[in-house]
């Protein structure tokens, strides 16, 4: 399975629909402080099923919904979709007939999150299993958020051992 596309609508500062084509090799992302780069990283973890609002730099999960600026009001919902190319047919059986899988998560203020795969509503754990079968997921060691390096360096030895358990 390959991840090919990330779409955001109303997620944090990405209020307008944003279409990020994820191409092979090395893609750099640049821009000034506070422009939204780390918000992209959080969107990936979020659509993969991240349950902890603390991992989203939020005080509650609704905080990931665009909260408005000087010219625009806050939004009522946010959505992130991640497209998986399943040509190699490694997806869980229930999804494995498809060439392409679009996983989406949508949150509505005070109504929580809904997950869908190709438009069909599924449970959060189905999404977690799908990404686990793809050797990734919201807790993947390959998703290195800003400050993760400092956490590893400062961690006490028992906490660092858990980094290994992710690999086991």
């Amino acid at each position: 399975m390959k991840l090919t596309r990330l779409r955001l609508i109303g997620f944090k500062s990405f209020v307008d629909p944003t279409d990020f084509h994820i191409e092979p090799g090395l893609t750099g992302v640049v821009g000034p402080n506070g422009c939204g780069k780390s918000n992209l990283v959080e969107a990936v973890r979020w659509v993969m099923g991240e349950a902890s609002y603390k991992a989203m730099r939020a005080a509650e999960m609704d905080d990931v919904i665009f909260s408005g600026n000087a010219g625009r009001p806050a939004r009522n919902h946010a959505e992130v979709a991640l497209t998986i190319d399943n040509a190699d047919r490694h997806a869980p059986a229930v999804f494995n007939d498809f060439d392409t899988l679009e996983v989406s998560r949508r949150i509505v203020r005070e109504h929580g999150s809904t997950f869908r795969v190709n438009g069909k509503e599924v449970r959060a754990r189905d999404v977690a299993m799908l990404f686990a079968d793809a050797s990734t997921g919201s807790r993947s060691p390959a998703l290195v958020h800003q400050g993760r390096i400092g956490e590893i360096i400062q961690a006490r030895p028992e906490a660092r051992r858990r980094v290994l358990e992710e690999a086991a």
Binding site: S13, V30, G31, G36, S135, I153, R161, A167
Partner: protein, 162 residues
Amino acid sequence: ARERLLTSFQTVNENFKKLFTELFGGGTAELQLIESEDPLEAGLEIMAKPPGKKPATLSLLSGGEQALTALALIFAVFLTNPAPICVLDEVDAPLDDYNVERFCDLLDEMARSTDTRFIIITHNPITMARMSRLYGVTMAEQGVSQLVSVDLEGAVKLREAS
């Protein structure tokens, strides 16, 4: 579970030793399980000897040396089961120019030897120059992010322009 942790410890340690020497252009390092006979209770210690220096635990290294060593650990775990996507958010911040170039060499090698697609968030012009393509995130309208394609030559001008 104990067996599985020990096996993965050995695999990660083998990767870690190679990656450390690659990232530092020399030197040696290794992972150690400490404080308990039982791997499920043990702590993970990191012993590192950068080129020309004495072996030391991670906490005694310089800031940049610690960051590069932590990267070797992260990639050592990654290579045991490469994810289809790897996102690195400003991991090059404390690195000097030579270490940034070796970090980018390792990224090139991993991009060649795995199917992983890499997304590298950076403020570092050397890293930017080594990418296959660049996207810029801008806030032309205050508080609203937009993703734009950036040509690699134009990067140096655009990258930090608010």
